[in-house]
């Protein structure tokens, strides 16, 4: 079954905002990330399995708040105590997850269809985030993640890279168009390239 992009009616390609007389290569880039497999893994309270010993392929589950473990096509975010979010472009990830997390100790939910991810890339990405989110992004480092709010919309921020600054911003699908509007509206001041 093919996926319908949450932002297919909202996200436009092209140049927007104050982009004139600026080098297009340095402009903020905004695009929707689609076709990513997203799984939520929660360890049951009754479970006594030590998650520090669990490996998803070659990735260890992050143990502390704000940590992301990365390996090639797969990223695992710390979401909450005993709870993680797995992002992967690997189409075999579901079988890897099934083999890694047993039904008695973990609840695994495929949330790929219920989330929207917007990627913002460029030096102004930090300014766009600071306009609507209360997190201190000056202390944010590559492969850090955080759950927070952006203009009242609950989001998850994942710092993919620090040069150029690249953030993946995930929101619930039902909020995706409002969230896209909030992000692009904040980006108009700097000019952005919709991709």
């Amino acid at each position: 079954m093919s996926r319908i992009s949450p932002l297919q009616n909202a996200h436009n390609k092209g140049l927007f905002g104050d982009y004139q007389e600026k080098n297009e290569g340095n402009l903020l880039k905004i695009r929707e990330i689609t076709d990513v497999n997203i799984y939520q893994v929660v360890q049951y309270k009754k479970s006594s399995v030590a998650t520090s010993n669990i490996q998803l392929g070659s990735i260890k589950l992050p143990a502390n708040a704000a940590e992301v473990s990365v390996d090639g096509q797969t990223r695992v975010q710390w979401f909450a105590p005993r709870s993680w979010i797995i992002f992967s472009n690997d189409n075999n990830i579901s079988s890897v997850i099934e083999n890694t997390f047993n039904n008695e100790d973990f609840a695994v939910t495929d949330v790929s269809h219920s989330r929207a991810i917007i990627q913002i890339k460029g030096e102004d990405a930090l300014n766009v985030l600071k306009k609507g989110c209360p997190i201190n992004f000056n202390e944010f480092k590559k492969n850090n993640c955080v759950n927070s709010v952006y203009h009242g919309i609950t989001i998850s921020v994942d710092m993919i890279d620090d040069s150029p600054l690249t953030f993946n911003l995930m929101a619930l699908r039902s909020f995706s168009e409002s969230f896209h509007h909030a992000i692009t509206d904040a980006a108009l001041e700097y000019g952005y390239s919709g991709q």
Binding site: A65, A66, F79, A80, P81, S83, P134, I135, V146, N147, S148, V149, G152, T154
Partner: protein, 92 residues
């Protein structure tokens, strides 16, 4: 910006949190005959202290965890926060 220390995530802006009520209220025991008056007290009656108060808070836009916070209702200072499983006695 008022910050609240989530026991799991650390200090975060208060607009990521939701107030969840008085943390000192005890639900009547399960599978026991409960007089109307006891239910009435459990459901409706709350103390309204001036000073330290133990409250439930929810990090609703963060880690989605419930926790307890000791807050001064006169100064709004949040003195400390605790995991739900922590046995911390009363608020004083």
């Amino acid at each position: 910006m008022l910050e609240i220390k989530c026991p799991y995530c650390g200090k975060r802006s208060q607009n990521e949190f939701a107030y969840g009520g008085d943390a000192t209220v005890k639900r009547p025991e399960l599978n026991k005959e409960v007089p109307d008056e006891e239910w009435d007290t459990f459901v409706y009656y709350r103390k309204n202290p001036r000073g330290n108060h133990l409250e439930l808070w929810h990090h609703i836009s963060g880690c989605r965890q419930w926790f307890k916070a000791k807050r001064n209702t006169a100064t709004h200072e949040i003195i400390d926060t605790f995991e739900l499983s922590d046995d911390i006695g009363d608020a004083s």
